[in-house]
Amino acid sequence: MNSVSSQPENLAGPSRRYRRRIGLRMSPGRISSLLAGGLLILGFLPFIKLGLVVNGLILGSVIALGAIGLTLVYGILKLGNFAHGDYMAFGAYVAFFIVDGVLPRVGIEGAGLGPFTFGFPVLIALPLTALVVALGAIVLDALIYRRLRDRAASTAILMMASLGVAIAIRGLVQLIWSGETQHFPRESRQVYHLPMDVRIPPDGLFVAVLAVILVAGVYALLTYTKMGKAMRATSDNPTLALVSGINTKQVVWWTWAIGGALAAVAGVLLAVVQAQLLPIMGWKFLIPLFAAVILGGIGNPYGALIGALIVGVSMELSTQWINPSYKPAVAFAIMIGVLLARPRGIFGDAP
């Protein structure tokens, strides 16, 4: 805004803002809060069940897949997408349809692939589902959100519309697949026993590894491809991105494609981890998703990843002391705590 005040910023390097976004800038406040957090974790370590941490990391990787898409959409399109959880649920049901309704007709059936409870069909369904939900997200944008953006509608109107989309998707899912509990064809499998009373279900290992691969892919895409750079630029400053010749239309499409695909995979993985599908499962997942996004700072995918892991581990660890059905409330409490202490997220500036 003001050339005098921006001068020192330029001397400090033009990428200061970027470094702040990815959380490399170390301020005394941040160092002390990291230290405090570290000490807190160290102090609690003797009382912590390591098995719960492992469960938390598995849950956290599912949250991360959803939260990265949510934070990209939030940052680039300025839309807090209340339908994101329902994109996840829709993805899970599309995969269920493929596994249960389509693949058996061409003779592909089965459960209990290797150490996993689910079968080969789920692996085939995963990319197809990601494609379907990504396309669906782009179509919904063209039908609804693009018109609202063209009209320069406020964020509240956009969010309200996304709430309507969420309700409509859930109604549609219930209408087609009924509100009853479903599940992928599965066979029970042994869990891996590790020392210190750690038990890892093989499915959880699959979830975590797939999440790591996808997150690495998103990282590479955002860091090295032209489109990824354009997306980050648009997230930073949409007007500047537009005048510097970035094709914002394509950026919007790619954002929805990535967000939708990740949400679909997250939904399928959630259904695998929970061993069931319910139409409400996506809506119930919204609070952990938003908690991770806010914890990491809105628009910051790397922050969302860290935030998701923190939220996931905290949710699982809390079951050691309080009723497990309070897990979403724990995510909510974390979110409120962050809003009080560091509203821009743990990697953002102090208030």
């Binding site: 509608a153 509240a156 109107i157 309507g164 109604g171 549609l172 219930q174 209408l175 806010i294």
Partner: protein, 338 residues
């Protein structure tokens, strides 16, 4: 067809529609006037209903497999015994107070931040309230729910005539709240709220403390919702955490306000009747139309459609002519918290 059965049905319908109208008025204060995006109405709904129910219900009967420890039945202590039970009014006032306090806490945390944080926080509150009443059996009997909630001044009339009394009670409360909200909206206070909705920065620049006004509006609307919850408790007289699912306790109310026109109190009341009429009426239709999932789908489509084509609601805000003229001259969108 039995004519008295029809009348009874219509009375029951009117009670529910008017209770929903109270919620729609509360939401109108939030969204219609101030542009506060509250999608956790269910939380205030549940808090109000449970507060009023626990204050007036009889204490738990150990023979009935009840787990809760509250259940004051304050009426039995003879306090303020004037022939009619004033404790019902205490219950309603307490419901409003509890919702107001919760709104104050949430508002203080989130209203200083961006608009979107409030919506996420209200969503979290609604879910947390539900988890609380579901899991803390000592508070309100958990998933088995609270029953034997007394009738509001039920000793005045014969049990079969209770609905005739209650429809008048709800009508009076709705009328009082309507006048209160209408006056508040027309007052300078209401003008500031609308100014905040239209342009926060300009309002702040004219010396108004935007945060304080938003907080007042949020607390005021939440208290109205608490009163609605209390009236609901004395009407259905059975509460369980499942009563307060987001569909019937949040989204329907949003649809009502959207249909009626945000910023328009009369429209809000009208919208409550229209949407509740459609909702209640479609259950008699054959096939897919009475399917709850289809109705859920249609509510979502309705909200999206209104956001796309009439963001101010179907009726829209009634502006004075002096306000309307420049708006149409510049081709601005009619009335909407844009």
């Amino acid at each position: 067809m039995d004519i008295s059965g029809v009348i009874d049905y219509l009375i029951g319908f009117a009670i529910m529609a008017m209770i929903y109208a109270i919620f729609t008025l509360g939401l109108n204060v939030h969204w219609g006037f101030t542009g506060l995006f509250n999608i956790g109405i269910a939380g205030f709904f549940a808090l109000g209903a449970y507060t009023a129910a626990l204050l007036t219900s009889p204490p738990p009967d150990p023979k009935q497999f009840e787990d809760f420890i509250f259940g004051g039945n304050l009426a039995q202590h003879g306090f303020l015994d004037l022939g009619i039970d004033l404790w019902f009014f205490v219950g309603i006032a307490a419901a409003a107070a509890v919702c107001g306090i919760v709104a104050l806490i949430i508002g203080t945390i989130t209203l200083r931040l961006n608009d979107d944080y409030l919506s996420i926080a209200t969503l979290g509150i609604a879910e947390s309230v539900r988890f609380f009443f579901l899991n803390e059996k000592w508070a309100a009997n958990g998933s088995k729910g609270l029953y034997r909630i007394p009738k509001f001044m039920g000793e005045l009339v014969a049990p079969e005539n209770y609905d005739y009394l209650y429809v008048v009670v709800v009508l009076i409360v709705l009328a009082i709240l309507f006048v209160a909200v209408q006056r508040a909206a027309r007052s300078p206070w209401g003008r500031v709220l609308r100014a905040i909705r239209e342009d926060e920065v300009t309002t702040a620049a004219s010396g108004k403390n935007v945060f304080h006004f938003k907080l007042q509006s949020f607390v005021f609307g939440a208290m109205i919702m608490g009163i609605g919850g209390a009236l609901f408790a004395h009407h259905v007289r059975f509460l369980s955490p499942l009563t307060f699912d987001p569909l019937l306790a949040t989204f329907v109310i949003w649809a009502m306000l959207m249909v009626g026109g945000s910023g328009n109190n009369l429209g809000a009341v009208l919208g409550a009747f229209v949407v509740w009429g459609i909702w209640a009426g479609t259950q008699f239709l054959p096939g897919i139309f009475s399917d709850p999932s289809f109705r859920l789908f249609m509510i979502g489509v309705l909200i999206v459609a209104i956001m796309l084509w009439r963001p101010g609601g179907l009726l829209g805000e009634w502006r004075r002519i002096i306000e309307r003229r420049p708006a149409s001259a510049t081709g601005r969108e009619p009335a909407g918290p844009d």
